[in-house]
């Protein structure tokens, strides 16, 4: 009899090839690439090495994809072309501009059925943790590791300590997975899970949709964790079945049978345990330059807030969160750029006009098509928002979309770091509902008050 194991341990054991001095060489099932992979390809070319498993490697243009042609630059064009050349030279299927499968890597790959339970998944991007929503062990890596996976389809890793975050209760009306993630980060801090693999557990987690699980696992990296994982269940299987590249027929049945064995064993022990009652979560808003600098929309900036962060943000300690005026708003990113996120924002915006510029960038071409077909895109346009093309857009100031220095942006993305949305930009993270509400009033606003009036 083996001792009770966590889901992470089960996946780890199935992927261990060999061990050396406390590290294990792991088999990698899926390797996702974006424009940032150019360093790793350069290394492959210098070393004259082949790419070992092109059929397990998939590329996508997202970080430099312009959300509007008018904002495309020489750099965005070069970076996208470079990815296309690298992937085609090495025989990798890559979703480039014009490909209907294209989108932000953490939105598009699950849509295609490439992300599956029980797999080891890597990408040269820290938000790879998103794919853990499917019960996969997924983590971000740097360029040297990307080159290592390209050349060997393996990676050296030390077994991480595993932290269980158990969430009981029910998320109150008007709060979302984004608020839950921000509340957890507020509780344990941005270094609270450093080096850990996080496994989510509890009834509040089981009740989340796949989209919500992705939002939560996406933000897990902001706790310092290496990965975040929700054990796969019927919600996962139902979402995946019939996706273009998911297993079919007998393979599907065998896969589901194996996936069912990956739930954590009764009595499995965790290196750390954190508990939270979802019922205590309110709509959350970051006020500083780190995701842990967060407060409920009904609260205030703490009296002991870091002066450094406050001066960058142009705010004062003790100020009421919902008194903060904003200059612009952004809905999108791998955290909150999925159809359900756009639907939630549209419910608030429907029939109203925005008070400040709002940019909406769907997380993928598939999301964009569904939003167009269902009339969501028209709701945004009618509200005066800009309906952009899919990509990382305003989440990161590198594709032509930027917030100007000193400007304040309400954003559904995941990082409020200094300069993240552009040099000197001030970012407030919140849910899609909350960004929509802020866009309507021009200041940070409790979306629950507005949604009471809105018709679904």
């Amino acid at each position: 009899m083996t001792h009770p194991r966590t889901t992470v341990a089960k996946i780890w054991d199935a992927h261990r090839i060999l061990s050396d001095a406390g590290s294990d060489l792991l088999w990698i099932d899926r390797h996702y690439l974006h424009e940032g992979s150019h360093h790793a390809f350069a290394r492959l070319r210098t070393g004259n090495r082949p790419l070992r498993h092109p059929e397990l490697t998939f590329g996508v243009a997202d970080h430099y994809a312009p959300s509007a042609q008018a904002r495309a630059t020489e750099v965005t064009g070069t970076m996208i072309a470079r990815l296309q050349r690298n992937t085609s030279d090495f025989g990798v299927d890559s979703f480039g501009m014009g490909d209907p499968r294209r989108g932000i890597v953490h939105v598009a790959m699950p849509e295609q059925g490439l992300t599956l339970p029980g797999l080891s998944i890597v990408c040269g991007d820290s938000h790879t943790a998103t794919h853990g929503a499917f019960g996969a062990f997924a983590f971000g890596i740097g360029a040297s590791e990307v080159a290592h996976v390209l050349a060997t389809q393996t990676l050296w890793q030390k077994p991480p300590p595993v932290m269980r975050i158990r969430v009981t209760g029910t998320l109150p009306q008007g709060t979302t997975a984004k608020d839950l993630a921000l509340a957890i980060i507020g509780q344990i801090g941005t270094g609270g899970a450093t080096g850990h693999a996080v496994e989510y557990a509890g009834p509040a987690i089981a009740a989340l949709s796949m989209e919500e699980r992705m939002t939560l696992c996406n933000m897990t990296i902001e706790m310092g964790a290496r990965s975040g994982l929700v054990p796969a269940d019927q919600t996962t299987f139902d979402w995946l079945k019939g996706r273009p590249m998911a297993p079919t027929g007998a393979d599907w049945d065998a896969a589901v049978a194996e996936w069912r064995t990956l739930a954590p064993d009764e009595g499995a022990t965790y290196d750390r345990d954190v508990a939270l009652d979802a019922g205590t979560v309110a709509p959350m808003v970051t006020w500083g330059t780190s995701p842990e600098q967060v407060a409920p929309v009904t609260g205030r900036i703490p009296a002991d807030a870091t002066p450094d962060s406050l001066s960058y943000m142009g705010l004062t300690a003790g100020a009421q969160i919902d008194s903060i005026a904003i200059d612009r708003a952004f809905i999108g990113s791998c955290t909150n750029g999925r159809l359900a996120d756009l639907q939630a924002a549209a419910r608030i915006l429907k029939g109203q006009r925005v008070a400040v510029p709002l940019l909406v960038s769907p997380g993928s071409e598939a999301v964009a098509r569904q939003a167009e077909a269902s009339g969501l895109a028209d709701i945004f346009r009618a509200a005066g928002a800009e309906w952009g093309a899919s990509g990382c857009s305003l989440c990161v100031g590198m594709n032509g979309d930027q917030v100007a220095a000193g400007e304040r942006c309400a954003s559904t993305s995941n990082r409020n770091f200094r300069g993240r949305q552009g040099p000197g930009a001030r970012t407030h993270l919140m849910s899609p509902e909350m960004v929509a509400a802020a866009a309507l009033t021009g200041r940070i606003t409790d979306a629950r008050a507005l949604s009471a009036k809105a018709t679904p």
């Binding site: 090839i17 001095a21 040099p423």
Partner: protein, 209 residues
């Protein structure tokens, strides 16, 4: 990789927690090639104002040259997986960072490129920071085989992962070493996919939405 045994230089403090990768190297510089060098971009927006003038409030701007050994705050290198953060520090002249804790991916990237990351308890880091704030650019050295760090009058032992230490001292490249194990990897692959044919992605005949 060049073998690393001892590092000698000066030490300086950057007493801030959560120095994220966007602060180490802003995303807008990420399209550069490795060979172009990243030293000028290191801490760019902390070092320079919008007009490109050095900021008075950035402690490292007072130094004649970049510190070889940087003493920083908690959770250093948090944020994105960009390895350029490590390139930037190395190109700027930093060979080792000392902090109470590091972000995971940053630390792993550092190890691959020979940037030492030394975690010491918060109290010790604070006392080093205080010492270096009083007297910036103190002479310092690191003896990797002995796992000993010297800054001015202070001598400290540090921990390092055994496998990483071996690789750094011998200048071994991870990738070349792994390729020696190719037969064992191939053997694993055979067994793995025999048991899990479903784990190979379905081929697509045409692009589908």
């Amino acid at each position: 990789m060049t073998p690393i045994t001892t590092l000698t230089g000066t030490a300086a403090a950057l007493p801030r927690a959560n120095v994220d990768t966007d602060q180490i190297i802003p995303a807008r510089f990420m399209s550069r090639s490795r060979t172009d060098g990243y030293g000028d971009q290191c801490f760019h927006d902390l070092r320079f104002d919008e007009a490109g003038a050095p900021r008075a409030d950035f402690p490292l701007n007072d130094l004649a040259q970049a510190p070889g050994i940087l003493v920083a705050g908690d959770n250093f290198g948090c944020g994105s997986s960009r390895e350029a953060a490590v390139y930037a520090l190395l190109d700027y002249g930093v060979a080792a960072v000392i902090a109470p804790s590091f972000a995971d991916i940053f630390r792993s990237n550092a190890g691959k490129n020979g940037l030492l990351t030394i975690a010491l308890d918060a109290e010790t880091v604070q006392s080093l920071t205080d010492m270096l704030t009083d007297q910036p650019a103190m002479p310092a050295d690191i003896d990797l085989p002995a796992q000993r760090l010297t800054i001015g009058p202070r001598q400290l032992d540090f921990d390092i992962d055994a496998r990483l230490k071996h690789r750094l001292i011998n200048g071994l490249d991870d990738l070349a070493a792994t390729l020696q194990d190719l037969p064992r990897i191939e053997d694993f692959e055979g067994r793995y996919y025999a048991a899990r044919p479903w784990a190979i992605p379905q081929k697509q005949t045409a692009a589908q939405g």
